[in-house]
Each structure stands twice: as structure tokens, then as C-alpha cells.
Amino acid sequence: MIAWLEHASGGLWPYLVIILFGFLPSEIWRWLAVFLGRGIDENSEILVWVRAVASALLAGVVAKLILTPTGALATIPLFWRVGSLVAGVAGFYLARRSILAGVIAGEIVLIGAGLAFSG
């Protein structure tokens, strides 16, 4: 059934995929917290490891979306895709740790590059 779901993109399957493979695996941690009540120390070793894995995973997703992009992002050369991330981090620090400024700086670089290459 799972293989069948993977190849389905019409009908109600995307909604089922989101509920079964997105919502439930994510929500379980929130519900578990309600029933565990109190207990785990936020600085316990197991949670340090869990957070490190979660951060590395998220950073990996960022890298993958930039290195092997799909759709419109693929029309921007790799140099400028990576450059926009660098500009985002630089903008964040230059604007005294403003996340909004970092995002705007990265977008300006990428959109600028996009306009330059398409025009």
C-alpha cells in the first residue's frame, strides 16, 4: 500500500500522506509531553544528542534544497544560490542579529542574480 501511495499524486492521497507521514510522526512528541508531564531535564545528554541530530538534519535539508534545487530555483546558478545564503548570514550579523534583515539580504542577492541572468 505504501508503494502505491508513493506514486499517487492525485485525489486524496496527498492529504493522507500529510496526515500519516507528516502530522502523526510530528504530533506524537507534543502529546507525549502532555502525558510525561515533567521529568526530562532539557539539558540531559539524550536531548543534547537528539537536538544535534535534528539540527544536522535541518541543515542538511537546507543544503540539499540549495545544491539540488527544483523548479524556478534551478534556473539560478549554483554560485548565486550559495551566495544568497552567505549574504543572508552576513546580513544577519551586519544588522545586529536581525533575522528579517538577513532574509532580505539573501533574497536581494538571489532575485538580483535571477533578474540579471534572465534579462
Partner: protein, 251 residues
């Protein structure tokens, strides 16, 4: 001392709810919209319908998890691997929820209310609530939280839908910019949130190992393997550094 009579009068509840809505309708809502607008684009990118993109925001309510979901599906991952990857990216909700609930739980708060509260736990509402709630009257906290959290949720759901729609209408350069929003926003956020060496190590390994993982790990498992390897490496180095520091501190 006699117990305070329950003061959950409708007027208290409504004013706390309104206060929550007001506090959310500004930078918190804007930042969430910026992070979810790209998720709508990702959903469209893999051929999912508009409703599925918006549903992912309302149900999963974790832009990183949604990015992992759509990103791993796009990379051809098997669905069980997708679920594991999404789950790993959401483990952080366990300690976050456990830290937040004691601020809102009062004697007699029904479990279903706590479960409902827990659904709204995500970084923006969490950081904000942990900051403002200790100074707030206990009976105002739950309605305040629902006002705040629902406002950012609705804003984010609208942004997801808008992103989904816009990605097909915009010129290529702007559509690319829209697809960049999520990865860029999370990278900057991770940089902003990184405090200890272990955070930087995890971030560095996560990005640094990506080209290698994409090249040698079968598509679909690459992100999961990379997260486990990179995160474990970061953790082990953190342990070594800590042990060395403790040794150096010892007399």
C-alpha cells in the same frame, strides 16, 4: 488561606484572548508568514494540491518538519523514511512542550485542553509565551495563548496558500526567491539560535556533509543518514570538548 474563587469570567477570557491576538499581529505573524510562504511553493513543486499544502501548515505546524516532508518526498524517499525524518525534526517539541505546559496547567485543566495547547507549540509561540507568561495572571494565560497561537497559525496558513499560488504566477527570478525563503529563513534562524559549540558543529556537519551524502547515500535515505551521522559526530565532539574542559578544570 481560602482558595481564590475561579475568576475565569467571560470578560477576563475575552480580554486575554484579544491581547494575545494583538501581540501576535505584528512581527511574530510576519516572520511565520515569511517562513511558510516558501513551504507552499515546495508543496506545489512536488505536485500536491493547494489544500494539502495549507493542511500541512495547520496540522504539522512546524515549518522545518514541513520542509523535511516535502523535501524528502521530492528526493524520492520511501514514505516510512519520510515519517522518521519528519519525526526526528520534531523531537524538539517534547522538551519545549514539557517546559511550557506547567505555565498554563491549573488544577482541573482537562487533558483535552492540554493536548490542544500542545498542538500549537512551535518555536514562535513558545519563545513568546515563555517570555510573557510568568508575569501574567494564571487565568489569562490559556486564552492569551489561544489568541496568540491561532493568529500566527491563520497568518501562516494564508501565507502557505499565497506561496502556493504565487509560485506559478511570478516571473522566474521572484519564484526562485520564494523557493529560497524557507531554507534561507531556517539557516539564519539556526545561526541566530546557535549558542553552544554543539549547535555550531551540528549546523556545520549538516551543511558540510550534504554534498557527500547526496553523492554516496541512496536517494531518499541521504538526509536521514546525514542527520544521524552529522548530529552524532557533533555530539561526540561536544562530549570530548566537555571532558577535556572538565579535566582541565580539575585540580
Amino acid at each position: 488561606m481560602p482558595a481564590e474563587p475561579a475568576s475565569d469570567s467571560p470578560s477576563v477570557t475575552w480580554s486575554a484572548l484579544r491581547e494575545g491576538i494583538r501581540d501576535a499581529a505584528g512581527l511574530p505573524a510576519l516572520m511565520l508568514m515569511a517562513s511558510l510562504v516558501g513551504v507552499g511553493g515546495l508543496a506545489r513543486d512536488i505536485g500536491y494540491p493547494l489544500g494539502a499544502g495549507v493542511l500541512s501548515t495547520v496540522l504539522i505546524w512546524a515549518a522545518p518538519g514541513q520542509m523535511v516532508l516535502f523535501g524528502t518526498i521530492a528526493s524520492g524517499a520511501a514514505l516510512p523514511a519520510v515519517a522518521v525524518a519528519v519525526s526526528l525534526s520534531s523531537v524538539r517539541f517534547l522538551p519545549m512542550t514539557m517546559a511550557l505546559l506547567p505555565l498554563m496547567r491549573r488544577p482541573g485543566t482537562p487533558t483535552w485542553v492540554l493536548l490542544l495547547i500542545s498542538h500549537y507549540v512551535a518555536i514562535t509561540a513558545w519563545v513568546h509565551s515563555m517570555r510573557v507568561m510568568p508575569d501574567m495572571a494564571p487565568e489569562r494565560r490559556i486564552p492569551y495563548f489561544f489568541g496568540f497561537a491561532n493568529t500566527v497559525l491563520v497568518a501562516a496558513a494564508l501565507a502557505t496558500g499565497a506561496g502556493y499560488y504565487l509560485i506559478g504566477q511570478l516571473p522566474a527570478a521572484l519564484a526562485a526567491g520564494l523557493l529560497l525563503t524557507s531554507p534561507l529563513f531556517f539557516l539564519v534562524n539556526m545561526v541566530a539560535a546557535a549558542k553552544q559549540p554543539v549547535d555550531w558543529l551540528a549546523l556545520g556537519f549538516g551543511i558540510g556533509l550534504a554534498p557527500l551524502a547526496i553523492a554516496i547515500v541512496p536517494a531518499g535515505l541521504d538526509l536521514l543518514v546525514e542527520g544521524l551521522v552529522g548530529g552524532t559526530l557533533a555530539y561526540l565532539i561536544h562530549r570530548c570538548l566537555k571532558a577535556r574542559r572538565e579535566k582541565a578544570d580539575a585540580p
